[in-house]
Structures are given as C-alpha cells and as structure tokens.
C-alpha cells in the first residue's frame, strides 16, 4: 500500500511539473531541501539533533561552483564530486562531533556551521563574500541546454534521484547498521556489550547525512544559479530540522513530504501576506500537538489501522 502511494505521489509530481512548468523551480528546491532534511532525519533516529546541517548543503553548492570554475562542466560529474566534498567534510567534522550527545551535539554542530558561514562571508577573494559565487549551467551528456530546458532536466533528475536515493537510504535504515543507529537512542550500553562500535555506527550515519545534505545543496545551487553564505546560516539549519519534524522521521518519504508541504505553503502564503512565517509557525504547532509522528505518521497510522 505504501509503495503504491509513494509511486502515485511521484507520478503526480511529474505530471504537475509538466502541466505547470512554473512550479518546477519550487518543486526542485523542495526536493533539494528534502534531501538535506532526510540527512537531518537520519541523525534524529539516533536521537541526535543537528542544527548545523546547512553547512553541508552550502559546502556542496560551493564545491559545485569551485569545480565549475576549475573547468568541470558536466552535471553528473559535478553532482558526484560536490556530494563527495560534503561527505568528506561530514566525515572529518563527524569524527569528533559524534562523541557528543543531546544539547552538546546540537550546539557544536551549530558552532561549526557558523564558523563555516563566517568563512564563506568573510573570505571575499575566495568565496565572493556575501555576494556568493555563480553556479553556471553545466552540460548534460555533453550538451549545453538553454536555461528553461536545463531547469526542467534538473527537476526530473531530482525527482529520479529522490526515488533512487530514497530507496537506498530506506535499505540502509532497514539494514543491521540502520537498526543499530536507532538503537543508539535506546541503549548505548547494550550496543557496546553486543560488540558494536557506537562511534563507528554514528560516524557512518553522520557521513551519509552530510552527503544527503550535500546532494540537496548542489541541486539547489544549480536551480538557483548562485551560492551565497546564507545557504549555511543557522536559520537554514533550523529550517531543515523543521522540515524533518514536520514531515516525520518514521520513514524516508517524511523528509520530502515535509519539504514539499513547506515550500508549497510558503509559495502560497507569500502571495497573501509578508508574515508567511506565522503560517509556518502555526502549522508546526498543529503538527507537534496533533501529529507527533509528523505528516508521514498519518499514512503509517492509516496503514496500521487497515492491516
């Protein structure tokens, strides 16, 4: 049942973007943020809240900009290399961050991301300062398309990646390693006595989560055509946590549902009022009070009731 619903949602998104091409940009950004929120959700399974994952989102987008400047001009290659950049930074930062828990983990992630933000904003000669860097339109299989065509290709590629990467993350979370990650939240002592290295389990999860945030960041960079330090600002990290909680961490689709919901809500609310944040705030209150498992939790509950 869940698979049919997910497949229907993907087909609907593809059809929606085809029927209303102006929505492609919003949907591409939503999927990009969904990837980053999925990274946050992976860590939430272990009870770890990162308020710094926008750093990886930005690092990957900056990586794409630097690589493009260095002469790499293929979309696939740029995506892979920029994700590797964020994964590498994730592995380095994670090697000491995963030793901490609770508020210390959250605050240290915030601190590291703000150092990164400050570097991006102040190293004008390298990063372009607050003006940021352009992320030029790359070639796709050797062909350089006009901007509208490229944006369509980027959307459908993002949609495809959402399905493929989503399945891979689902597989990881369902594997012994993924279950060990959830078990960290329950009982670290028992994990150690099972001979499982908690540190390694968390470092792998942290690196995967950084790579996911990076994938989102590079897609966002290509969609917007520019990367600025605000990509890494702490409010952007908070936004990712918001999406993860709103969508629900019970399954991979939660992060994408949360991101799509929030982006569409934002797009609709800004046409009505400047105080769109109020709508978002009220929505979050409603979700936390009445849907503690997030929006995705509703689907899970319905499925449990029908089985």
């Amino acid at each position: 049942m869940r698979i049919i619903l997910a497949a229907a949602a993907v087909v609907m998104l593809a059809a929606l973007a085809f029927a209303a091409p102006w929505l492609q940009f919003v949907l591409t950004l939503a999927i990009a943020k969904g990837f980053a929120a999925l990274g946050v959700a992976v860590l939430l399974r272990a009870g770890l809240i990162s308020i710094g994952h926008a750093m990886f989102f930005a690092a990957s987008a900056y990586g794409a900009a630097f690589l493009a400047r260095a002469g790499i001009n293929d979309l696939g290659l740029l995506l892979i290399l920029s994700v590797l950049v964020s994964a590498l930074i994730g592995a380095i930062a994670g090697s000491f961050l995963v030793r901490y828990r609770a508020i210390f983990f959250a605050m240290l992630n915030l601190a590291v991301s703000m150092v990164f933000y400050a570097l991006c904003a102040k190293l004008y000669g390298v990063t372009g300062g607050t003006d940021g860097l352009p992320v030029p339109i790359p070639a796709v299989f050797g062909i350089v398309f006009a901007e509208p065509v490229f944006k369509s290709i980027l959307f459908y590629l993002s949609l495809t990646l959402m399905v493929l990467v989503g399945l891979a993350v689902h597989r990881y979370l369902d594997s012994p390693l993924g279950h060990a990650l959830s078990a960290v939240h329950s009982n670290e002592i028992r994990l150690e006595y099972l001979g499982i290295p908690v540190w390694a389990v968390l470092l792998i999860a942290y690196t995967i989560s950084a790579a996911l945030a990076g994938l989102g960041g590079s897609i966002a960079g290509f969609a917007i055509g520019r990367v600025v330090p605000d990509f890494a600002f702490w409010t952007a990290s908070g936004h990712l946590v918001l999406i993860a909680v709103l969508g629900g961490i019970g399954g991979v689709p939660g992060a994408f549902i949360g991101a799509l919901f929030l982006e569409l809500l934002h797009s609709a609310a800004v046409t009505v009022t400047d105080a769109w944040n109020m709508f978002v705030g009220i929505t979050l209150i409603v979700v936390i009070m009445f849907m503690p498992q997030g929006i995705y939790g509703l689907f899970e509950r319905k499925e449990a009731q029908s089985s």
Binding site: S175, P176, L177, S186, E192, Y193, I196
Partner: protein
C-alpha cells in the same frame, strides 16, 4: 583441572573508600557454572563490571584465555566471546522483542552490510528459537518496553545467548522473575548452556537456585573471597550460613 577461561588476579577496586575488591582472585574453568553469592553491596556486580571492561581496577589483572583484557573496552571483550546479562535489563526499549534478538544475531554475524535487511528468514528463525527457549515466543512482536519486568529479564538473557558466547556472565538472572517461572527458566538456561557448551558465571541471591544449579560457589564479602567450593561444602560452612545465607 584445565586452564581457566577467565582469571581475575589480585583485583583492587574502591568507591569512596569502600573496598569492592581487595586483592581477590578468581578463576572460572571450561564447562563450569560458577555462582557468586554475598551480601548486598559486597562488590559482586563490580566484579562483573571489571571482567567485562566496564570498570578498570586500581590494580590487578583480568586474563581471558591467558591474554590480558584488563584495559579492553566492553566491546572488545564481547567480540572475544564474553556476553553479559544485566541485573537491570539492558534492552532496546523502543524496538520489538524480535528486533532486539535479530540485532544481537547480526552483531555476531557481522554488522557491516547495508545490502541485506536486518530481518532475514534465517535470522528470524534463530531469534524465535532462542525466544522459545526462554519462554518468550508469545512476545516476539511486542515492543520490549511493554514487557513485564520478568520478561524483560528473560529477553536480556536471550540477547546475551544470541551472541553465541563462550563465557556468559549473568547478574542475578532470576531476580524479577516470578517464583513459578524461576526454575523453568533455570532449566532452560542450563539446557542452553550445555547444548552450546557455554561456561557461565552468575551472581545470585536465591540460594535454592544456587544449591540446585551451581557447579561451584564462591562467597564474596567486602571485596574478598570468604569461602569457595561445591554448593554443599559452602552451605555447610557455619560462617557462610551466619553471614551470607542468613542475610541473602
């Protein structure tokens, strides 16, 4: 007698001046079911903590198969075939009973696969067989935090057994288990230990259980060994009867 599987030599540990081990030495040999008895607070659990790397002694050493493991982590010792069941069950409370078991089985098989799911038919069957052994086959899909305390205790033991250890350390295996379930549990446990050739050391307060199942008894008092021997010898010791059995 064969060479000991586990030896603890001249252990010294103190907490705020209270001696939990004061130069004591113990050894457990292949095939034994060694019981450690003693008054509350005498340092029995501390001894298990030292042997599994959770606490490091001030001085002394712990040898596993003759190799020094005193400074090793619980994880490293577990990987050398020493499993532990706790006085307060240590479970993955938010997960199902069967998932607790399958994760333990996966830890033994090798955790580092992201291709295969945790739940395989083979692993599920093995987990179910162990749950049946301890009488939890009716609880496989329950969330472990919803189990009654006695059943949580049984699950903790089953998880330790899932590691297929050579040496099993049990901290009060029958505490929290109802009087009716106590002896059936011990029978099942003994049967599993014999079948799988697992040597075991258990801390216990129920003297009937100790008298019936232990192959050797060691009386721990104020960080020292007060008496040691077969159950009938130890329980025949007037000092033990007065100071330990009477208060246990």
């Amino acid at each position: 007698m064969s060479r000991p599987i586990l030896e603890a030599k001249n252990l010294r540990v103190a907490f705020n001046g209270v001696k939990a081990a004061d130069g004591a030495s113990i050894a457990i040999h292949d095939g034994e079911f060694l019981a450690i008895i003693g008054p509350n607070g005498s340092g029995k659990t501390t001894l298990l903590n030292i042997c599994t790397g959770y606490i490091r002694p001030i001085s002394g050493s712990v040898l596993l198969d003759g190799n020094d493991i005193t400074r090793m982590s619980p994880r490293a010792i577990a990987r050398r075939g020493v499993a532990r069941a706790f006085q307060i069950p240590q479970l993955f409370s938010a997960q199902r009973v069967i998932d607790n078991m399958m994760l333990a089985l996966a830890a033994k098989d090798g955790l580092w696969t992201v291709i295969r799911p945790l739940e395989t038919a083979e692993r599920r069957d093995e987990a179910k067989a162990l749950l049946e052994l301890v009488g939890l086959d009716g609880d496989t899909d329950r969330i472990s935090s919803t189990l009654p305390e006695g059943h949580r205790k049984l699950l903790d033991i089953a998880v330790a057994l899932a590691l297929k250890p050579r040496l099993l350390l049990l901290d009060e295996p029958t505490s929290g288990v109802s009087a009716l379930e106590r002896f059936p549990l011990m029978e099942a446990l003994m049967s599993a230990l014999r079948q799988r050739r697992i040597t075991a050391l258990f801390v216990e307060h129920d003297m009937d259980v100790v008298a019936r199942y232990a192959s050797r008894v060691l009386v721990w008092n104020a960080g020292n060994i007060m008496a040691e021997g077969r159950p009938d010898e130890v329980f025949g010791n007037a000092q033990v009867r007065e100071r330990v059995v009477g208060v246990a």
